[in-house]
């Protein structure tokens, strides 16, 4: 069975600094995708970044980037130049066979 583990229930960072959120996963599938979703207080789920497992190059979206270590089954999210609007729950997810498997989430607090 697929699993996704986020070992950090809560993280805090000073505004304008960099923070890394950790995620590990386990899957027997060879074809899968990995995602980071953001859930602000409004509780709307927002896709932050995605990574195709067959791609070695780490995905980047503006201030958000991932460190994808396929052999270690690790998929961390780095947020650079943290902004107050980045405060939210962040969920890591793995997709294959029509289903997204979710981690428990990391609450990110931004200190002004």
């Amino acid at each position: 069975a697929q699993t996704v583990t986020q070992s950090q229930p809560e993280m805090s960072v000073q505004e304008a600094e960099t923070v890394t959120l950790s995620c590990t996963y386990d899957t027997s599938e060879s074809d899968y995708y990995l995602f980071w979703y953001k859930q602000p207080p409004s509780r709307q789920m927002i896709l932050v970044i995605r990574q195709e497992a067959y791609k070695q190059q780490n995905a980047t979206e503006n201030r958000f980037s991932v460190n994808f270590q396929k052999a270690a089954k690790s998929f961390s999210l780095k947020i650079s130049d943290s902004q107050l609007g980045d405060a939210a729950m962040y969920f890591c997810a793995s997709y294959s066979n029509y289903q997204l498997i979710w981690g428990a989430g990391t609450k990110l607090i931004i200190k002004p």
């Binding site: 509780r43 789920m45 896709l47 969920f91 029509y98 979710w102 989430g105």
Partner: protein, 112 residues
């Protein structure tokens, strides 16, 4: 682009009353659709998914049921609500971006 509509946004229901939450999709045909439940401060639990009209797969045995009467309509129901049914319910469908999900805005259900 695809949009997921979900209503109502908030619902307070007494124990033992029925439930009907509706989700409709715009911008795509024959989408896979999903119902998730999220407890406060927790990750997402997949309840049901549907790959087409009349096709429902249940992930978790529970007091809830789902139906797909039309291609772009997915309904979550209960005949008699329990206190444990309280939570935040999200409908999701495939996003335009490869294998990601698009989410509705969610329904906050409180059973009293």
């Amino acid at each position: 682009s695809q949009t997921i509509h979900q209503w109502p946004a908030t619902l307070v229901q007494p124990v033992g009353s029925p439930l009907s939450l509706e989700c409709t999709v715009e911008g795509t045909s024959n989408p896979n659709l999903y119902w998730y439940r999220q407890a406060a401060g927790r990750g997402l639990q997949l309840l049901f998914y549907s790959v087409g009209i009349g096709q429902i797969s249940s992930e978790v045995p529970q007091n809830l049921s789902a139906s797909r009467p039309q291609d772009r309509q997915f309904i979550l129901s209960s005949k008699k609500l329990l206190l444990s049914d309280s939570g935040f319910y999200l409908c999701a469908g495939p996003a335009q971006v490869n294998y990601g999900y698009t989410f509705g805005s969610g329904t906050r259900l409180t059973v009293v």
